[in-house]
């Protein structure tokens, strides 16, 4: 030990120039090798992201050499394709017109949807070297990669037809993979002629045609938020939640404020399951007053409120005020999904997916794989787990509540003998006239959840009457398509 200290002291204070030079040399070699590794990782990981940046002019260079590849639905229907005329000018067509407006998006005046997400592959050509060089020689553009999405034409059409003239949003996802099967936002536009409509759309500040309501529309969650209030109650009480009782007289009074049940209903004596199934506002306001505010904040945070959603899609942040900013009335309102809370349909769908999937959230995605012109797969997107939003027990608890909504509650229209569904309705009130947005979020089959559906129809009325029937059609179609 003493020997060592002595040696250390000598090296520290009286190193020879030779030793110092060797140390410097080693230091710079190590420094450079760390830099090489950094550079290598940078090249390996970042190409796609860099090329998609709007400030990267290489996109234009590629566009002058290649024309955009095709975009397909999951069953192989062409959703977008390009034609090149004799002057090598490229025209983009969307055979389904407005149907995939927001999901597939557009690529002429800026980009959105799949056109944006997989721009890198669409503008890079997978043609062979010989082919590329021969095409270049005679001035012909090369075809870009073809992108296969997870989108399903039939589900998309059902949602689109049902929404009809209503504004709103519908998203259908696979719970175990995160694949988005349908994504519809109304009002919509025809991406083939977007450049002609562009000036008009941009000029009109009230127009929200270009907004994808599924990912960017912020709505009051209404009664669908009771899932979260109930979940917090379960977190605090565990199995004792079964002891909860409330006698609903049609209103709940606290601190001089009052919350009324929807449409003046009086629910009588309820346990938590019945309160949830029948969407009793009074009992949930009562629950809201009993829960721990800090725990509630933590729960909302872990359910991705006030955060960027884990997905490549362009999304808005859902927001909820921190409970410290809320007085009793605000807290009562928040507990039943009114107040200042705002949520995107995609976010609500993600919470539903996690609840149905034992608490684990799969990242939502729209792209399945990319092929080159020769049909070889260039990139396959794997199912990606985001992580756990709630425990297995909590997931089972929520599933129980959501099943009761179909069995005995507001989503009774979903009852049928082919499959068992579960979910939560909502009628989110807005304005002063008593108008409401119709919400439904749910999944099926209840026993082994596969598919999640989230619907909002603006100003339509109650979720049970207006959103649930669409959910039924979507589930029906999903299970019919599955049958051989």
């Amino acid at each position: 030990m003493k020997e060592f200290l002595k040696k250390f002291k000598r090296i520290m204070l009286h190193a020879t120039p030779r030793e110092q030079i060797l140390v410097t040399t080693v230091f710079f070699f190590v420094l450079f090798f760390v830099m090489f590794i950094y550079l290598g990782l940078f090249v390996k990981n970042n190409e796609e992201k860099l090329l998609s940046n709007g400030y990267n002019k290489r996109q234009e260079t590629l566009a002058s050499r290649n024309y955009r590849g095709k975009i397909y639905s999951r069953d192989g229907e062409v959703l977008a394709f390009s034609e090149v005329n004799d002057d090598q000018k490229e025209f983009r067509f969307y055979p389904y017109g407005k149907l995939f407006a927001h999901a597939v998006g557009y690529s002429t005046t800026g980009k959105m949807g799949v056109e944006l997400l997989s721009n890198y592959y669409l503008i890079n050509s997978g043609a062979s070297l010989t082919e590329k060089i021969e095409n270049d020689a005679v001035g012909i553009k090369n075809p870009g990669h073809n992108v296969y999405t997870t989108l399903d034409v039939e589900l998309q059409q059902i949602a689109d037809n049902y929404l009809n003239v209503y504004d709103g949003a519908v998203v259908v996802t696979e719970i175990k993979t995160g694949k988005i099967l349908a994504m519809v936002s109304h009002p919509n536009f025809d991406p083939s002629t977007i450049s002609e409509q562009w000036d008009e759309l941009v000029k009109d500040e009230d127009s929200s045609v270009l907004v994808n309501r599924v990912t960017q529309g912020l709505y009051p969650p209404g009664s669908t938020f009771k899932m979260i209030t109930a979940l917090e109650y379960y977190r605090e009480h565990g199995e004792l939640w079964k002891n909860y009782r409330y006698v609903c007289s049609g209103r709940f009074d606290h601190d001089g404020y009052s919350i009324k049940c929807f449409n003046g209903s009086v629910h009588g004596e309820l346990d938590l399951t019945q309160a949830f199934a029948r969407s009793c506002n009074s009992s949930f306001a009562d629950l809201g007053m009993s829960i721990d505010r800090k725990g509630f904040d933590t729960l909302c945070n872990s359910l991705l409120f006030n955060k960027d959603l884990p997905t490549d899609l362009v999304t808005s942040k859902s927001s909820i005020p921190s409970s410290a900013e809320m007085d009793s009335f605000a807290m009562m309102q928040t507990s039943i999904g009114q107040g200042k809370t705002a949520i995107t349909p995609l976010h609500l769908n993600m919470i539903t997916m996690a609840a149905a999937n034992g608490g684990i959230l799969m990242k939502p995605r729209m792209i399945d794989h990319v092929e080159n012109v020769a049909g070889q797969t260039v990139r396959r997107y794997e199912d990606e787990e985001y992580g756990r939003l709630m425990s297995v027990d909590e997931s089972l608890f929520l599933r129980g509540l959501m099943e009761s909504v179909v069995e005995t509650g507001t989503a009774g229209k979903l009852k049928n003998d082919k499959y068992k569904a579960a979910g939560k309705t909502g009628s989110a009130e807005y304005g002063d006239e008593g108008d409401s947005h119709a919400w439904f979020t749910g999944y099926a089959p209840a026993e082994d959840p596969e598919v999640a559906v989230t619907i909002i129809i603006e100003g339509a009325g109650t979720g049970g009457d207006y959103a649930v029937p669409l959910a039924k059609r979507l589930f029906d179609s999903y299970f019919e398509q599955k049958e051989p």
Partner: protein, 445 residues
């Protein structure tokens, strides 16, 4: 048909260029292994052949791609220049360090090729400057053999350095937000590059004799004045190089690692103060931390630099196929990214390995030199050379904040080219002295 041929040529030469460069790099490191003198000379010849092939292929690509024969002319003149240089130097000085010479020629060649692809006019100017520098450099080893009073000009170096830098600070015109250039008779100089040599000589002249605390302090004050003037001139890269050179030289010659600790802490404290005091330091730091948020203005250069590297990937886009011209000041500040884009990252790493090889050779010579004065100079040249490369490359790939210094021997920039060549030949001169001393000793014993 011709177009098809040209395209195949450019596509395939991406791999060929990397292969040539990789073999060259391996040769330069093999030379550090104990090999017979015969094998050594054969390896030098192999290196020269590889260099020839590599440059030929580059300029062939450029000629075909642009359809302009001027690239072939440039190639012929470049080749002539490099081989005359190698021939002349080795003939005049039989103890020339061939490895350093070969590496220098290769780096100059690749640099000129890259610059000519970005701007032919600049390449032409650079070529003339290299020619002129070579003329100057040729006598450097001779001067080192004959002149004995270098050790005695201590205060001359200091006065000259501080004086010129101050004049530049006061009179120099604004150049990219930094007052670092100086125009005499139509030629623009960057004195901070040039003063670097005087500065190293000053430190050597003080510290070879006295390395006690008093003299370290005195030299520290003079070095500090240099650094402060550079910071005020907004030439942050040079300021950093000067500072690091001082600390490392002091630690090397005194053998006291406490100076290293003080130097590191002092450097960090100074950076923190500079960050608060100077807007341009803060801008550089923010642009490094998150170039994408500031891509419209302060992050633009680094952003474009990263785009170039990302588009080049491992084997590059092929010469003339990239968009490196989008990077502001690409020929000076970001030439490394331009190389990454068109030659590929693997090729660019080989370039850095060759630079490290030069550094290693300089350090080897520094160890062997007995005379403390020349030891310091050799060591100083080596560390300023490699540290400058680290700053410019690290800045361009977002490893560290961008400081805007040139890549020695490769970037466009007359002063930088001249000064780096001078430093290489100063090391050559020291090496030749060393060999002469060794021979004398061998003769006596």
């Amino acid at each position: 048909m011709a177009i098809i041929l040209q395209q195949y040529l450019i596509e395939l030469s991406r791999y060929a260029l990397f292969a040539l460069m990789a073999i060259y790099t391996i040769c330069s490191f093999v030379l550090f292994a104990p090999v017979s003198q015969k094998a050594e000379h054969r390896l030098y010849a192999v290196q020269n052949m590889l260099m020839l092939l590599l440059l030929f292929l580059c300029f062939l690509d450029l000629t075909f791609a642009t359809g302009n024969v001027r690239f072939l002319y440039l190639f012929v003149f470049l080749l002539l220049f490099l081989f005359v240089m190698i021939l002349l130097v080795t003939l005049i000085y039989e103890d020339t360090n061939r490895l350093l010479l070969n590496n220098m020629c290769l780096l100059l060649g690749v640099g000129l090729c890259t610059i000519s692809r970005l701007s032919f006019a600049r390449a032409y100017r650079q070529y003339l400057i290299a020619l002129f520098s070579f003329g100057l450099c040729l006598v450097v080893p001779l001067v080192f053999r004959k002149v004995r009073f270098f050790k005695k000009l201590t205060w001359g170096y200091a006065a000259c350095g501080v004086g010129i830098l101050s004049v530049v600070l006061l009179l120099g015109r604004i150049h990219n937000g930094s007052k670092i250039t100086f125009t005499v008779a139509g030629l623009t100089f960057q004195p901070s590059e040039f003063i670097k040599i005087l500065y190293i000589f000053f430190l050597a002249a003080v510290l070879w004799e006295h390395s006690d605390f008093k003299w370290v302090l005195i030299s520290g004050i003079i070095a500090g004045i240099h650094v402060v003037i550079l910071v005020l001139s907004k030439d942050l890269g040079s300021a950093l190089i000067y500072y690091v050179a001082f600390v490392l030289i002091v630690v090397m010659i005194t053998g006291n690692n406490l100076y290293l600790m003080i130097g590191t802490i002092g450097g960090m404290a100074a950076s923190a103060v500079a960050y608060r005091l100077f807007g341009h330091v803060k801008v550089r730091f923010l642009a490094w931390k998150d170039p994408w948020t500031y891509i419209e203005n302060k992050g633009y250069q680094i952003g474009q630099s990263l785009f170039a590297i990302g588009s080049g990937r491992w084997f590059g886009t092929g010469l003339t196929m990239g968009n490196s011209k989008d990077i502001p000041f690409v020929e000076q500040d970001a030439i490394f990214s331009a190389i990454c884009e068109e030659f590929g990252v693997l090729f660019a790493i080989c370039i850095l390995l060759v630079s490290l090889n030069c550094f290693l050779e300089m350090m080897r010579i520094a160890i062997n030199v007995g005379d403390r004065f020349y030891k310091i100079i050799c060591y100083g040249c080596g560390i300023t050379y490699i540290f400058q490369i680290f700053l410019t490359v690290g800045g361009g790939i977002k490893f560290i904040p961008l400081t805007g210094v040139t890549l020695p021997l490769i970037s466009a920039g007359g002063t930088s080219c001249l000064v780096t060549m001078l430093m290489f030949f100063i090391v050559q001169g020291i090496n030749i002295r060393l060999k002469a001393v060794e021979r004398k000793k061998a003769g006596i014993s």
